[in-house]
């Protein structure tokens, strides 16, 4: 503990000396955020009071910039971490979780220490952080970025990944090395064609090294993966494709099979003012890529990122009850979406215009055939697959439609309908649970009392005969711009009163009827935000980007503070 405090004091002292330097033209800036919660026992919702009733996560980033030089660090504290946080390996104690220096010498940029980087869409390499989920696979090593000509971008990275946190970053055993090249023709060439259109060609190669200590299997110590991408754009069209291939990478995630992995992602969008259309599809086969073949969880030490092809909902029930996560071992998925705005003055547009959004996405298992053990029993290939061929099992589908209209200068309404199919067995790893079929309705209203004061409400209903049955949510949020807001929400979980209702094929003996009320107050001033919540929090799935973390049910008081300086 003493060591941690001295860490902080040292950084604090460094801050002041840096301020002194800052007066010579550099800048010192950063941010801070904390989420703290006081837990209460609540057996009705299965909320457990942990031995330490108060838990808090806290981060402070500090960056010093002076001309072409930059240095930064992040102090992190988990004393202890919030319940259910993080998604992967535990974060404990306090210390420095991230630090780097970076400088530019004309067209060359050098980073030493920690960094985040991504090649293309990340099919073979993405190191990133999502602190509210506790996902952080920062690299620790070095990175070079070089631009020999305008429009030509070369990057190389080397290092080890963050694995967890124990009074400082804990690193994984595997070494990760990567190279990426990208040419953007519009920037490189100066022709009439490239003034409005562009073709971007990119390629990457990533390899990981981990010693083989397996007594039985002969495991590859170096595993390589490569990817190739094309992006063609015109003022109306944007077509993107990326293909990735990984050589044999036996790991705990794929059952130590020696099959190669591959992924193909395609996306096309067409848009003009008032209309946007997007269509995408991907096929993924054996594409878990972690820098430790025995990584304990799917959240640890991921080298790549496989974006799910589904819409990320913003309303509470659809966003946190049944969100989809990509199945890296194999899936075929597709998504289509339309945004349209009826202009004001038209029949459907009325005085202010009407907005429509329609989205459909689906994901299936990949069509595979199990292979028996070949003669060489130490190199099992597991299965054969037909790329881009969906199998019989549907993991997920989501059809949703949203209409949004301002009906008067002070009232706006939005209506949403969703239909969801969710294979809870595969996606949330709950074997034996029945696939969830759900319908959802959401009505949202916004009313401005004055230029500064407004109320927003949401009424949501989810109807299903599986999992936990029905949910209804009501939310009211009063805002007093620019500083205050007060909100109250209740989520009500119930099954129908009809005693023939079958929950997962069994008669529900005691129908669940539980309320989850919660109240919030927030204060915002410039870059600073305080929020206090009190009440019950339902167990749910919390997602940002493509990654989700399960949050246990809790009851109590929580405080969050974020600030930027």
């Amino acid at each position: 503990m003493l060591r941690n405090v001295s860490y902080c004091l040292a950084l604090w002292a460094a801050t002041f000396s840096a301020i002194a330097i800052a007066q010579d033209g550099g800048q010192l800036h950063g941010n801070f955020s904390t989420d703290a919660q006081l837990y209460r026992q609540d057996s009705a919702i299965g909320a457990v009071q942990p031995p330490q009733r108060l838990a808090a996560n806290a981060w402070a980033n500090l960056i010093y910039t002076n001309g072409n030089f930059e240095a930064g660090g992040r102090l992190e504290s988990y004393e202890p971490a919030l319940a259910g946080y993080p998604a992967g390996q535990p974060f404990t104690g306090s210390g420095v979780g991230y630090r780097y220096i970076k400088f530019k010498v004309s067209d060359l940029e050098v980073t030493a220490g920690n960094f985040y980087e991504q090649f293309g869409q990340g099919l073979v390499f993405r190191s990133y952080e999502e602190r509210y989920l506790g996902v952080d696979n920062a690299m620790d090593g070095f990175r070079l970025k070089y631009m020999p000509y305008r429009g030509v971008h070369l990057k190389t990275v080397m290092g080890r990944q963050r694995f967890g946190f124990n009074n400082g970053q804990v690193k994984g055993v595997g070494l990760v090395r990567g190279f990426d090249a990208e040419v953007s023709l519009a920037e490189l060439l100066d022709t009439a064609w490239t003034s409005s259109s562009n073709l971007i060609i990119g390629g990457s190669f990533v390899s990981k090294y981990q010693e083989d200590r397996d007594p039985l299997l002969k495991l590859p110590e170096n595993v390589g993966a490569w990817a190739f991408r094309l992006n063609y754009t015109t003022p109306k069209w944007n077509i993107y494709t990326e293909y990735a291939h990984k050589i044999n990478d036996p790991s705990g995630r794929n059952g130590f099979i020696y099959k190669d992995g591959q992924a193909l992602h395609l996306n096309a969008t067409y848009s003009v003012k008032g209309l946007g259309i997007s269509a995408g599809a991907h096929s993924i086969d054996n594409m878990f890529f972690q820098s430790d073949r025995s990584a304990p969880t799917p959240f640890d030490l991921n080298i790549n990122f496989l974006p799910p092809l589904t819409k990320q909902h913003t309303y509470n029930l659809p966003a946190t009850l049944y969100p989809y996560a990509t199945q890296p071992n194999g899936e075929v998925a597709a998504q289509g979406e339309i945004f349209y705005k009826w202009k004001k003055g038209t029949k459907l547009g009325g005085k202010t215009g009407t907005k429509l959004a329609v989205n459909y996405s689906t994901a299936f298992a990949l069509d595979t055939t199990h292979l028996g053990l070949a003669d060489d029993t130490t190199r099992h290939f597991g299965y054969s697959s037909r790329f881009f061929q969906p199998g019989n099992r549907q993991f997920f589908s989501d059809f949703n439609i949203e209409l949004r209209k301002k009906v008067s200068p002070t009232w706006e309404f939005a209506f949403t309908y969703l239909n969801l199919v969710f294979d809870i067995d595969v996606i949330q790893g709950k074997p034996g649970k029945h696939t969830v079929y759900a319908d959802m309705f959401v009505l949202e209203g916004l009313h401005n009392f004055s230029e500064k004061n407004s109320v927003r409400f949401e009424l949501q209903h989810l109807d299903t005969r599986q999992d936990h049955g029905n949910w209804a949510t009501a939310l009211a949020e009063f805002t007093f711009s620019p500083h205050w807001f007060v909100a109250a929400m209740d989520q009500f979980n119930y099954v129908t009163l009809d005693n023939t209702f079958l929950l997962d094929g069994k008669t529900a003996v005691e129908p669940e009827r539980v309320h989850y009320p919660v109240g919030s107050v927030g204060y915002i001033r410039h870059g600073t935000r305080f929020q206090v919540n009190y009440g019950r929090q339902r167990a749910g799935i919390f997602c940002v980007g493509g990654v989700c973390r399960a949050v246990p049910a809790s009851n109590g008081l929580s405080l969050s503070v974020t600030t930027t300086f």
């Binding site: 800048q27 955020s33 754009t233 997007s278 004061n453 407004s454 915002i524 980007g545």
Partner: protein, 164 residues
């Protein structure tokens, strides 16, 4: 816990220090995939608003839709330009162009798919808005969005223009 307080104290004291005063030099992408250095953002000596948002962030979309209705007037009166920086990552960045066009927004839009600019400007969460004066100085910032916040922002824009 002791460390936690040390951390909090450390941050509190840092408040006294200098804040970010100019846009950093970071590469973001246009919706056509061209890379642009953020230090080249300019509006010919007039104020700029840099707004961080995402297609999955409801308050962000409320803010940008509300400003969109007033944007013509704002531009006529003050010449202000709004730059919308989407932090949508690989999952949803392909949705940004169709969404922006589907809303018929007239903003200059950039993509920051791995959060490079977001980190460089110390943004914790979205929406987060910066106001930059004609000389390139960050003069105001605001986190969160509540209906009516756009009026306060615009009052600051007008004050900047009047000062000149």
């Amino acid at each position: 816990m002791r460390t936690f307080f040390a951390l909090a104290l450390f941050t509190a004291c840092s408040f006294a220090s200098t804040a970010q005063t100019r846009l950093p030099s970071t590469l973001v992408q246009t919706m056509e995939g061209k890379k642009v250095d953020t230090k080249t953002f300019h509006n010919n000596g007039k104020p700029m608003i840099v707004n961080f948002w995402a297609t999955w962030c409801a308050p962000c979309k409320r803010e940008l839709s509300t400003i969109a209705e007033k944007y013509d007037t704002w531009q006529e009166e003050t010449g202000v330009k709004l730059i919308a920086v989407s932090i949508d990552d690989a999952r949803s960045m392909a949705r940004v162009a169709p969404y922006v066009n589907g809303q018929a927004w007239d903003y200059e839009v950039y993509l920051d798919p791995n959060g490079d600019l977001k980190r460089a400007l110390n943004v914790n969460n979205v929406p987060h808005t910066f106001l930059i004066d004609g000389a390139g100085n960050i003069v105001y910032q605001h986190n969160n969005y509540e209906p009516g916040d756009e009026n306060e922002l615009y009052a600051k824009v007008k004050a900047l223009v009047a000062k000149k």
